[in-house]
Symmetry: D2
Subunit: 288 residues, 4 copies
């Protein structure tokens, strides 16, 4: 199996009490199908998975699968301890997810040895497609190339990587690992143009939770319309600059709620964006 | 209430299956009483609290309280989401802990606004002494002085801070906040001598899980034996250099297991230290 | 004037006493002409310009100009204080250099205000084409986009930028400034493929001091042979990995001396590469 | 010889054309004698030595020596290349300086091997007391403890270190090297209290260019008046917070010029502080 295109690291809609708003998940999934993303990734970082209970994560995955149709569903199975990830992986397999996404443990910084132990225990316990997720900003550690090569060459389930380092030097070296069974995804929305130009298979782009720009960017690229690709990238960069004025990922939630007229909430300790900053995003929402 | 002395950020003993070994908790608590620490802090970073379930954390706290006697018990209530911390704080209060220790949310980096929201929701929900824990290495964010001053001046329950930044410039400014109801603890074992010399109330020192050196250092300082204080600091520094040759906190577990002849284990993804590195710690264990 | 292609940040050949070896400059210039670089940049970082006296720098520039033929010559005029840069710029203009390359002051970290002052004083004093050089690793400061835009829009002499940040997010934004009078050069040899793919005009590549690989890479790209471009990038990456095993830029000197059988030296405090590391480069030299 | 007390890293007074104002050097030296510093260090970082020509540095040193009386004079001999440092060291010896201060090469980051080469070449060439200056913020590299121990144990001229890392973990380890022939100086004004409390011999404090607070702090400490020491440190911290609102070291120049009613200037690219920021320093100047 070879994956590509734009995968949405799905946010987790909350109501004003901070509880998961399952009906808004349906709204989001319906929207994602309409704009043509290739995959949905619940329990992502944007989805604030560490703020959710295991039961909430399982229930959310099931809800996504009810409506996902032909879109691939990749269940986030990240956890600080390995057993929790195995538990989530088994559930994902049992309920029919297409694959899972796993990052190294967090809070306590992992060595490469810990990373290998973490991934191998999950890979040996559950037979399901797995995408490796590298994000040093949240885990405090980088997955070194030799660690990645080890996992890729020893486990045929390992089908790709989502890289959120923002380091194109590293990303280029990832592309040298790309083959017919291993996909390389860019995890930073503002690096999509560069990444596609040098051979990325696609992106895991948070902005697709409420904007089709990045899907259009991907389609422009595959249609060889580089000028349009570049123009869309510029617009996305402008949007990202504004979204990150409030602490990640609050602004993505605000934009989603406003676009779909949802009276949503923010699970603590996430705080809703200030009015001043929030106003700046409204122009983009209208354009979309 | 004014706290001081050495508080032990308790490790969580595991058996070879990676399950919590409750009887070894008794061994550890008995040891800590014998060497004269002033407090015990279960569900600490050394205790790998993000690897534990809520039930495990509650049961462990109860087990500590059964044997703690006159030693103060500070329950770690850290969690990525605020509600989980509130839940743990209520339990700590109900089972009779002396206080709780709370750090900012993690994985997703908190802004100062998120930090204030996180702490205030907990402080308003539960009336129990609270020590603020600042550790940018694990949470990705520093608690700024004005955030700290806000919490300290508005909530009389806030009785101290454990600082693990390793930044003495910041630590000195913390000491300017010290008063009869607010204690400042150093969280880095190798900075105890400096910290006490400029007025720290004590330390939260992982090394006390298996060594009385740091308790002796504290007692030497309060007895005005600066030469002995300095000598002990040098020995502790040497020990720390070795302990951190393996990924934190594996070596602390190894040292504890060896000192008490426990056949302990390592919850995944933590990996036991390599033999080569482990051998280096044995001399210190014998000396202790 | 619009510049492009590969510019060589020329190393400064030394003899065994650490004096400049002017005849080896001729050897190097002759080689650079033979492989087809578009420009030569004496008094570069690779050329260790801060280790050279003003007189040495002037004499070296004159020597280069004697043999450079149709290749463009860009004189490095970097200095900690602005007046020294003005002095060097006037000399460069007077002896017929095509342009100059200037970076912010160093040792003391510059603010954006200092950067603007530094560049404006030089630009107002001397009328000659100027390429801005951004290298936070050596100057401790990044030239912000708005600083760059200010200089570019107010001074028509500003004809390009050499970016050595290694940050492609920044580099992509530089490319949005590219126009018919402003060229964007990549300063990191291992990022040439990516940079050309997204529109860079060329590179300032230290490896061209002894290898034609990067010139071939550029030519492959302009001939639309992307497969060859990528293959050459992979080889260059391998070479860079080895070159940087010794402290920059000693290995570039070693490679140059060996390739041309020069009994060269290393001005203090630069130290010649260890034998063990040096041996690794010999295979590459032979291949070239 | 054993050095201690407060050494002034002397600023270089300029006139409005940016030329050195030698008569204001006399004013400064006279002031430093009056407040009781133990040493003067011309060609310091505060003195912007990389902005000065070799001749200016020599002439300035000679001018300082004319008026220094019993105060020790330590000539800064920092340079990017080793030969320039040797040249300056010989001059310092010949004109009767008490010692020299040397840091690693800069702009190009030095390895430990380069550092050792740099210092050894100077130490072998000139017999004069030498203080090692460690400042990774300006040189890009840290002098490792084993490098320092190597230099200290092999060269009896090496009589001390000025540490500007701001890292007290490192500083404490320096103090373990202190002996009757090796002094440890703190280079950060706001860390003087901590440093003296754990055994520092003194400080190299830029604030003494226009304020006697830090001399008073030192004297309070040696008189065992810890409360006054702490109070002075707090005031110094407040002053430093303001001084560093403009790019180092412009505000030190402004404060000096205002205190002594000198119509001074700022050598390019240094820019004079903005009015808004400058006003904040005036209260401190009056207090002094």
């Amino acid at each position: 199996m070879k994956y590509n295109g734009i995968i949405t690291p799905m946010l987790t809609p909350f109501n004003h009490k901070g509880e998961i708003d399952y009906s808004s998940i349906d709204t989001l999934v319906k929207y994602l199908k309409s704009i043509g993303v290739s995959g949905i990734f619940p329990s992502s970082s944007t989805g604030l998975f560490p703020f959710l209970s295991t039961n909430e994560r399982k229930k959310m995955l099931e809800r996504v699968l009810e409506n996902s149709g032909s879109i691939k569903v990749f269940a986030g199975i990240g956890a600080a301890d390995t057993d929790s990830s195995i538990n989530l992986a088994k559930h994902a397999r049992d309920v029919g997810a297409n694959g899972v996404v796993l990052m190294p443990s967090y809070y306590i910084t992992s060595s490469q040895e810990w990373i290998i132990n973490h991934f191998e225990k999950v890979l040996k316990a559950v037979d399901i497609d797995l995408i490796i997720y590298n994000n040093p900003k949240t885990t405090g550690t980088n997955i070194e190339l030799k660690t990645l090569e080890h996992l890729k060459s020893n486990y045929s389930q390992v089908l790709g990587i989502k890289d959120s380092t923002g380091d194109m030097r590293y990303f280029e070296r990832l592309l040298f690992l790309k083959d017919s069974n291993f996909s390389v995804f860019q995890g930073e929305d503002d690096l999509m143009f560069i990444s596609l130009m040098i051979g990325a298979d696609g992106g895991v782009c948070a902005i697709s939770n409420f904007s089709e720009d990045v899907v259009n960017l991907y389609n422009s690229y595959t249609s060889d319309d580089l000028e349009k690709t570049r123009t869309l990238q510029k617009r996305i960069n402008g949007m990202m600059d504004i979204l990150l004025l409030s602490n990640f990922p609050a602004m993505f939630y605000y934009a989603f709620y406003r676009k779909f007229n949802i009276k949503g909430g923010y699970r603590d300790p996430m705080v809703r964006p200030s009015k001043k900053v929030a106003e700046k995003i409204l122009d983009f929402i209208k354009v979309v």
